[in-house]
């Protein structure tokens, strides 16, 4: 994935002011920064849920910002997991994972459902195939949402604060699924406030503030001894909220 010269403006508000970011295949990058820093917007510009004002995005082998790009085809190769899960509330858990396989990839029903069951086992949500999303805990819902994205066979996964809407005791189960994905070699871009996850799983941590990348580096260095004052201040506030 390659982003260069990316700008995004909402009216008078310039949220992203020139982002350059490369991610190698199999790399796990965590995006951190204060709220309003443009982390989520950056993520949403990768699969063009937000249209960049300027700049180019190449992701999963697609030139996302080219005028002739087939966005639907490109998005199949880029999985996305949302803060609010966004499972399809009118469908069963099994159908949530099967529907895009059937309607987008044209897989036969039986094959799509077999794949859905396999993925549910992978994310550790079993015996709930016929349940509605609302009958599951937040942690289960988010794991199903990960399975749903994986069902399209993506080359890149985007995570937009995947644990921020969860009760604290449910965060671990989602993070461990993500850890498993990282170990399997998935390329991942993760917006997160979970510094322990970043420290343990990320290959690189990128600190975003005011719409620009202020600092980036390996997690050990980035999280323990950041060079810039802004990153130091942010990390201090996150790691020692009570002081």
């Amino acid at each position: 994935m390659t982003i260069s010269g990316l700008h995004k403006r909402f009216g008078d508000n310039e949220v992203l002011r020139g982002i350059d970011l490369d991610i190698d295949e199999g790399e796990v990058v965590c995006l951190i920064g204060p709220s309003g820093s443009g982390k989520s917007t950056l993520l949403r510009c990768v699969n063009l849920l937000e249209e960049p004002t300027a700049g180019t995005v190449h992701a999963a082998g697609h030139d996302m910002t080219h005028p002739d790009v087939d966005l639907d085809a490109a998005r199949r190769d880029i999985g996305m997991v949302f803060q609010q899960f966004n499972l399809f509330s009118h469908l069963s858990i099994l159908d949530n994972i099967a529907i895009a396989q059937r309607r987008v990839l044209g897989r036969p029903k039986a094959e799509a459902e077999a794949e859905a069951r396999r993925l549910l086992a992978q994310v550790g949500v079993e015996g709930k195939e016929r349940a509605r999303p609302s009958q599951l805990s937040g942690g289960q819902q988010q794991r199903v949402a990960i399975a749903r994205a994986l069902a399209m066979g993506p080359a890149l996964m985007l995570f937009d604060e995947p644990t921020s809407a969860l009760d604290p005791e449910l965060v671990g189960e989602v993070l461990s699924v993500m850890k498993g994905l990282a170990a399997d070699g998935m390329t991942m871009l993760v917006v997160t406030h979970e510094m322990s996850f970043a420290r343990e799983v990320a290959d690189r941590v990128v600190f975003l503030d005011g719409g620009v990348i202020v600092e980036q580096g390996p997690p050990a260095q980035m999280l323990s001894e950041p060079k810039t004052e802004r990153a130091q201040g942010f990390l201090h506030r996150v790691l020692h909220p009570v002081d």
Partner: protein
Amino acid sequence: MAATERSGMTVRQKRRLSRAVQYAVAIAVVALVAALADWGRIADSFLRLDIAADMFPEVWASFGNTIAYTLLAFVFGMIVGVLIALMRVSGFGPYRWFAAVYVEIFRGLPALLVLFLVGFAVPQAFPGITWPGGVYGQVAIGLGLTSSAYIAESVRAGIQAVPRGQVEAARSLGMSHTRTMVSVVLPQALRIVIPPLTNELVMLTKDSSLVYVLGVTASTMELTKFARSELTDTANATPLLVGGLLYLLLTVPLSALARRLENKGDHR
């Protein structure tokens, strides 16, 4: 307390007294009406069991027509209404404008006038055209046009009530705009609008009584027209009572259903 000192009563005692007075007045009014009414005469003009019995079984045919007209208009209204709703939320300006004008026109015109237009004005202006299905076709379109405008507004509201995240999730999986509408947005939107649509069905059941203006025959008569012709034949109002009860047989369960669905509303 101050209130207690002044009137010698607590707030609760006052409220109880006020309730008692209201009950007493209501009972007195009912008793007065019951005492003054000429019950024999009322029974004679409304409650003649022999006349009521005479209406059967013929009344069932008109009852069936009422249901048929209602359902035909509803199906037409649903098909057109959903299309108009989709145009209303379209990204393409001319679709949106057309849909907005359509809704304003058919919501702003009396159902009776639209029925006249479909039944008389259009056949007169375009002599080559006859509506398919005779009176049934005329009713489906004549009442359905009005209904479609209301249905379109309900469905539009339903579409807009589907959370944005549902669309984003669908698009991020590679679903096209159309596929997202068909597989994700519309199924959820229609679930949201089931209660208002049920109310629309109640309205249509009653509006089907307008069909008489099209000049129906004995076989295409609906309930109101049938009751009215019985009224003329017998010079007695009992047929109206029977007809009214049969309408309530349709509308009360439908309204109850709509209420239940509304209460269940949040299915998430």
